[in-house]
Symmetry: C2
Subunit: 224 residues, 2 copies
């Protein structure tokens, strides 16, 4: 039986890579990578290409889109080099300065437009609500309403937004990745653009805690 | 009393210009122009700048964003030069080939990100459901759900989507524009990129019928 075609938003990080492994079980993959002017783009793009190769996704089903105008709009430490990446603090309950205003709506809109053109039925995004950095555009409810918006705003109205990790803890994502033989060694999560992951930003702290709680060792290298 | 800051999506066409005139009565304006790879972009950008000048909007409150990756995604006669712009047919009830997949979600997402950074309270978009070309992302319901998505997916959750023209007929928009002394002579609506408007595409036919029904003469020049 023919598998449905699905687009996976693949940043090159741990979460999106595990999401691709989940989608791969039931779907034919099309992979979308979006450059939004983040500091770590060259690293992420390298990871994207390695991971796409791992999943045997042909060139015509890979799309790399540049929305570095988000950098022009600014307002985030991830895109504005005048704002330092703070050291991580997983007890902080406020929305952190690394929040890129409404970023996920941009990523999903691109995926939806592409889905309409290539006839993809699903869009997978590796967003996490629990155990995340507290970004408002990572809430389950946000994705539910976005899906309704897609139903109303597209030609066929049948494209679904899939968030298989949304309720997982980072340790569960790591376990799922290991279970599915996801290429975790090819991923990059650190917010800083250095040769090895810093081990100190929010993203590194979350990842390291995830591997630790999963009783596993992170296959990538860290500076500290 | 200080007026609220509002972003108006200003393509340079009739509808968005009348929308700016409506917003100007109650708000301080910030103007956003988006180039999505449409054929008529150079014309539209020229109109945008003339209209922004008309409204005395300073440079720092004008933003021009390029999302011509929509052209790369394709699927529309407005962005794909391999697809001809058909002659207009206002009796056609199908979604026309000029539909740019999910375009308004892209435009609004950019506006929302900018609104979060500059502290704008409203986003005005001159979409028309009635008497329009039948694009799914021009429906009132689409904008309602998008506003909910914005409430859930942003930091403050208080940005409103305003669609003052949504239920108007084109003739009512023309009348409103004349009533508000909107600079209709500075606008461009035609889907073709020629020196004078073609007078034959869907967009020209709608505009001409609107002026006709309003009992007024369109101040721009037509080829036929």
């Amino acid at each position: 039986m023919k598998k449905p075609l699905s687009i996976v938003l693949l940043s090159g990080g741990l979460d999106s890579t595990v999401t691709a492994s989940i989608a791969e079980k039931e779907c034919d993959l099309a992979l979308l990578h979006v450059n939004y002017g983040q500091r770590t783009e060259s690293k992420e793009l390298h990871c994207f290409n390695s991971i796409a190769k791992h999943f045997h996704v042909p060139q015509e089903r890979r799309l790399i889109i540049d929305i570095s105008h988000l950098k022009e709009i600014g307002g985030s430490a991830l895109t504005d080099e005048a704002i330092d990446i703070p050291d991580g603090d997983l007890t902080n309950k406020e929305i952190p300065i690394t929040y890129v205003p409404f970023r996920n709506a941009h990523l999903l809109s691109i995926a939806v437009s592409w889905a309409e053109v290539i006839g993809a039925e699903n869009i997978y995004i590796g967003a996490v609500e629990e155990d995340s950095s507290g970004y408002p555009d990572c809430r389950k409810e946000f994705f539910n309403f976005f899906e309704e918006t897609v139903r109303l705003g597209t030609k066929e109205g049948n494209i679904k937004i899939k968030t298989p990790l949304i309720e997982m803890k980072k340790s569960e994502i790591v376990k799922k990745g290991i279970e599915l033989s996801s290429p975790l060694e090819l991923t990059w999560s650190c917010y800083k653009d250095e040769e090895e992951a810093c081990g100190q930003c929010d993203s590194c702290l979350l990842r390291l805690r995830g591997f630790d709680e999963a009783g596993s060792k992170d296959p990538i290298k860290y500076k500290v």
